[in-house]
Amino acid sequence: MALTSQASIPEVKEISPGQCLDERLNRLKQINDLGPPDLVQLVKHIPNSSKNSKSSKNEISTFLYYTGVDTSNSASIAAHLNSISMIIGGDSQQLWFGKFKNWKILSATYSCYNAFSKCDIRVNIHYPGKSNTLILDTKNERIQESELVWLETYVSSVMRSLLSSIDDDDDINPVVECRHLNPFDNIQSLDLFLKGFEVLFFQGPKLGCDVETQVPTYVSNYLVDTFLKAIELTNSYDKGLEICYRLLDREPSVIKLISEILLKKNDEINAVQVLYDGIQERPRDSNLLIIQANYCLEKKRYDFALSCATHAVKASPSEFKPWAALVKVYTELGDYENALLTLNSCPIIPHKQEFRLKRVVSTSPEFMHLPLPNDVTLEEVTSLNSQDVAIEHESIDPSLLNLPATNLSSTFAKAYSLLTEIAHRTGWEQLLKYRAKVFVMEEEYRKDKLVSTSNLSSNNSRTNKNPLSDNSNSVKLENGNGNGNGNGNGNGLKTSTSNNTRISLDEESNIIEAFKKKRLCERWLDKLFMLLYEDLKTYKMWQAEFVHFQAQRMLYKKNTLEWELLGMVAYRLHNYKEASTAFSNALAGRFSIKSTKKLLNYYQNEKKKLNKESFNLQLNIKTSLSQITKAQSILTDKIIDSSVKLAVWNHRWYKEFNPLILSSLKETVGEEGLVKIQNQIQAKYATNHNGVGELMNEYFKILVNFKVFGTEN
């Protein structure tokens, strides 16, 4: 917490003292995920205030949320409370809703949810000195302290910290009044988590699993996800393997984790052997088969991948992931008909929600104290004005703003990505043809129904007569369909979904015959086709406009949010190059967290490709080596640039921990060496006063702690 100041601690005023803790306890009854972020409540007063001011004004209570604090015992929680109390109640007065106040802390309470035993641990300090610890279950009854309860509590904390920090900028209602610390700032904390993982391994399934998994198992659940993420972030592969080999004796499915760690460690030969042995023993373990399928895909052995993915589906037909893997294989094989049929069979999990940190205390903006940390600043990032962003937001074409594909989540989002991948390869017109070939089209269905009831026998098949499929020029998509008001979209586009056809047909069974060879398109997939149409239309229009402007030698001008949204469309359609251009254009206007993250991701992937190329280069010279080296160096600069800006932005929002930054720095340091990177940042971003050097050094300290490759020189 080297960089914590008064200005980096948000607070929320309580309406009545203790209310936040009561509300929290009430909400806990309904919690069935990993739980809310930790909560700190502070009672503050002004000791030397004049007698004539009302005494009630001189005592207030506030709260804020936390993740990443070491909650493994009362002492370390108490130490954390003390440090907050010292910062807020220190010598310098706190800037509090526009006035400087000489707050001192009367008491501080830390509250942390244990998702295993479903209880809340509370550590309370009354200043000076008196502290006590209380564990309450959801019925408000006391629970005995024990080593196990503390271990569970700690592991719960780490899970919330690591799993919530993955992709949190799509959260439309984020918990801003929250500080995020790095749960692993030393090796001891990691080791304690790993110990906890091993002890609690068999309880993993009860804490739930990611949105693409239907039923949690010992090797697919949030606890395991956290474990793998921790191992990767800290480069602790061998420690992880050791634990897994011990667990393997008791639970054979753990072989999945071993193969995953080996692959993360780049120990491919061992990974392949472990997978082989595992599958010999457990030929219906779909987890192993999926990993093997993905490995073979990466190696471009699609024939092998097909066998693996097919068997994964046969082994776990009610799970989503095996099907998704099989869709990917068919897409790579160019067998788009089977890709569509397989996609249609994916068992969608409609109601599951991603794990997100949620408020447990209701409040409103006027109670929030959200200070601007002034110890780390980078003009471009720190000066971003949210009002300007809001104005930009209002000036934008709503149809671009409200593209329905934006809001897809969980298995729907994944299925959409599979569909867009197919479309990316076939193009829209071809896709429509494939679709009409494998799915029953609505007109077809309606017509046949008509025919069979009126006993006509018209034979002219109108099956593929689709207004869209006639347009050879994709840009004409717009003309072919949109007739001004947007209601006409997707006209004639509909397949006959399985939901539409739940009409009782009674004696009209002839219809069925016509479709024997075809499949009914699931309603959700049909909807995804509509979303794809919208996305494609937007994308094509943008590209056409762009060409037009270029031809006219005019400047193609859009604001940051427009570029970002166009970038997202391109990104969804797997046009990554175009997406990156759009994101870069977006950032040319002003800073944006989303564009920066997306770009960082893009740069990392490009780098990986380049590295692979440079490796192949050694085998057979094709491209100039210096060319590649130059490209690598440019990418490294860009990755550092994005990472620094993300770190500054995160610090501004009280987030001192972000796995994305940490892992990108880890890789860069691994390639270039710590000293070089540090120097580069110092030269390019840091000044004596802006604190950027100090902020980045906090990250590097962690890499050093974990002896990450590259930190030794």
Partner: protein
């Protein structure tokens, strides 16, 4: 081997409701019904193991497993050298 006769109670484009003589209500995929079946028809279902195909598929599967091991698990690609 199982053989039963069932009445087609209801029929739509994807699912049929079949009835056994002892009043078991069974959902059955329409696609597996013979041609010309209507609501009210009686059908005969025979269900048997296909051990031969099972064996054949298993053999192919394990043969590919060997191939994967031989291709990538014996002497795999050297780890990429990142800088020269």
């Amino acid at each position: 081997m199982v053989e039963v006769s069932l009445t087609v109670g209801k029929l739509d484009a994807s699912l049929a409701l079949l009835l056994t003589s002892d009043h078991h209500l069974i959902e059955f995929p329409t696609i597996l019904l013979p041609e010309g079946v209507q609501a009210g028809s009686i059908i005969k279902i025979k269900c048997d193991k296909n051990l031969e195909l099972e064996k054949r598929e298993k053999d192919i599967f394990f043969r590919i497993q060997e191939q994967i091991l031989n291709e990538f698990g014996r002497n795999g690609p050297k780890p990429p050298i990142l800088k020269i």
